[in-house]
Amino acid sequence: MPAILEARDVEKAYRMGEVLVSALRGVTLEIEQGEFVAIFGPSGSGKSTLLHVLGGLDRPDKGSVHIDGVNLSTLSDAKLAEVRLNKIGFVFQFFNLLPRLTALRNVELPLTLADISEEESVRKATEMLELVGLKERVSHRPTELSGGEQQRVAIARALINDPKIVLADEPTGNLDTTTGWEIVRLMKRLNEEKGQTFVVVTHDQGVAETADRMIHLKDGLVHGVKKGSGGMQS
């Protein structure tokens, strides 16, 4: 399997008030196409920072990130935005939907940014909402949806541009256990049925166990990698 995402010796520090915090201290990892990978670790281990750097939202201080063979550090801000638009899908802990837009318009947004015609983006977004099980909720606004439903909309939005990789930051972190597992199940299903590559950041060991591979992050370093169960506990 070819590596779809590759990080080499990634270092990243950020300033908190007067103090410089080293969030990442030389992370190297590879994600292969079609994999479902969990990045697992306690809070403060640098998981979210790593995810931002992997997704081109943030730039590393040192080291390099390649997505689909492209070195992100050589790209301008505008080109980086294009990579995020076309090759990456983000799913966040707090869903991050635009509150004034309907579910359909939220899912359509990346297509609008990519200049896809309105007709086609409505068709694709409707299909995608159907795929995540929200056929009946297309014209609801985020405030009219439950947490689980909002996260499904966010997943539909992440998938709409056929990204190479979906990066999910604590996708179950703001949901109750049952709903959280539904979301994990949905992502696993999309991984199996569509071969969609997922990288899921979580501090929940149970969620991490379902992955093909678990990357254990601690104090900004990869502490170990082990195989996950690859399947769901019931």
């Binding site: 939202l57 505008a78 995020r84 638009l85 991050n96 635009l98 004034r100 940014l113």
Partner: protein, 426 residues
């Protein structure tokens, strides 16, 4: 991102904040209302003044007089000069005039006081002022004998119900002569009244109402000359003024030997002054729009802060900084457009109301004699505002421009937000 989508999103976001958008737009509406109000009143004034000027100055008529070394030389212009000027491009007709001062005019115990004796070629002269010279009684003489004359309105009408002479009367006038032997002296001559003029007013510096018109050949015999004092030139269009005036000056050596009165040039000066006044008024009104611009800047800065997270989301899913900038500028532009489109009719309405009220105080005044035309005019009671397409479109474009300029700073702030920090913003 397509323009349509950008505008649609901007519109959506404005609708979301309806109250705030309305207040911000109101600022622009007030600014544009002030600008258009003053501008259309100004245009209304311009129309009135232009009309009055055009009545007073026959823009198509140039007057050629002696100047420079020729000043004081009697009758410097030959018929050749007139013939030559007639051939110039843009000239319809040129005609010779002899102008003399006169003493009293007598008829059967009554007397009247013309201010000026104009000796003209009647056939040609009426073509110089085809619209101005209207005969009240009698005829405009086409074929003349030596003693044919036409009287101006004030010469004939001594008072409201008393006239000086009837048609066919022989009236006696004291003509003034100068000779080296006798100095200045008067001699009586008799003329037959062929017609009288209605109120004709003044053109340039000659008031036809106070004139006695006689044939030029008679004057030439009386004053022993074959020349003339002045040449009146009618142009096909006022736009020929400069070229014809230049050609005439060149013919006489170009050294100031002749003076050519160009009424169009005077009109231009008046137009320039009107323009300056209007620019000044509009500039003052524009301050209101600038204040509205500050309002937009203020509201948008708040809006960018409130929407920080939203901007972070947009950037995370792949919006470029430029796209974010465009989205915010589109909102500013829409506010400007909306304010402009509403403000233009409001401003025109305001001008209508002001036009009615501001000048009502003049309504009680008695008719006055216009300084320019010498005729009685009615006092300025109402100014009809004039809204030109240029002003309307210009004001809307200005509103959009001001909005975009003031929206630039907050829009730029939004575009420059760091996506990670924006996403973290609560």
């Amino acid at each position: 991102m397509r323009w349509k989508s950008v505008l649609a999103m901007a519109w959506e976001s404005m609708k979301q904040r309806r109250f705030r958008t309305s207040l911000t737009t109101l600022g622009v509406v007030i600014g544009i209302t002030a600008i258009i109000g003053l501008a259309s009143l100004g245009e209304g004034f311009r129309v009135i003044i232009r009309d009055e000027m055009q009545q007073g100055f026959e823009l198509n008529v140039l007057t050629v007089m002696s100047g420079g070394l020729l000043t004081g030389v009697p009758s410097p212009f030959t018929d050749d000069d007139v013939g030559n000027i007639s051939q110039m491009p843009g000239v319809v007709i040129a005609t010779s005039i002899i102008q003399k001062s006169v003493g009293k005019l007598y008829n059967d115990g009554k007397n009247s006081t013309p201010l000026v004796l104009l000796a003209v070629n009647f056939t040609e002269f009426v073509q110089i002022y085809p619209d101005r010279l209207a005969v009240e009684h009698g005829i405009w003489p086409e074929s003349v004998s030596n003693d044919t004359s036409v009287m101006g309105y004030n010469v004939e009408h001594l008072s409201e119900d008393e006239t000086f002479a009837n048609l066919g009367d022989n009236v006696t006038v004291a003509l003034s002569f100068t000779s080296s032997l006798r100095g200045r002296y008067y001699e009586n001559r008799t003329f037959n009244v062929a017609g009288t003029l209605g109120k004709s007013g003044a053109a340039g510096f000659i008031n036809f109402d106070d004139a006695l018109l006689i044939p030029i050949n008679t004057a030439r015999t009386l004053y022993n000359t074959t020349n003339s004092d002045m040449i009146f030139v009618r142009l096909a269009d006022p736009s020929y003024s400069d070229s014809v005036a230049k050609a005439i000056e060149d013919r006489f050596g170009g050294g100031g030997e002749v003076r050519v009165l160009v009424p169009a040039a005077f009109m231009e000066q008046v137009e320039t002054i009107l323009n300056m006044v209007q620019i000044f008024l509009t500039a003052i009104a524009s301050i209101a729009l600038l204040v509205a611009g500050l309002g937009i800047m203020n509201i948008m800065t708040v809006s960018v802060m409130e929407r920080t997270r939203e901007i972070g989301i947009m950037k995370a899913i792949g919006a470029k900084s430029r796209t974010v900038l465009t989205m915010f500028l589109a909102e500013a532009a829409l506010i400007g457009l909306l304010g402009g489109v509403i403000g233009v009719p409001f401003g025109y309405g305001l001008a209508q109301i002001m036009g009615q009220f501001l000048f009502r105080f003049g309504a009680e005044a008695t008719p006055r004699r216009s300084l320019i035309t010498g005729t009685e005019t009615h006092p300025l009671t109402v100014v009809t505002p004039v809204l030109t397409l240029q002003w309307a479109v210009g004001a809307i474009v200005f509103a959009i421009g001001v909005s975009v300029i003031f929206g630039w700073y907050p829009a730029r702030k939004a575009a420059k937000l760091d996506p990670v920090e924006a996403l973290r913003y609560e």
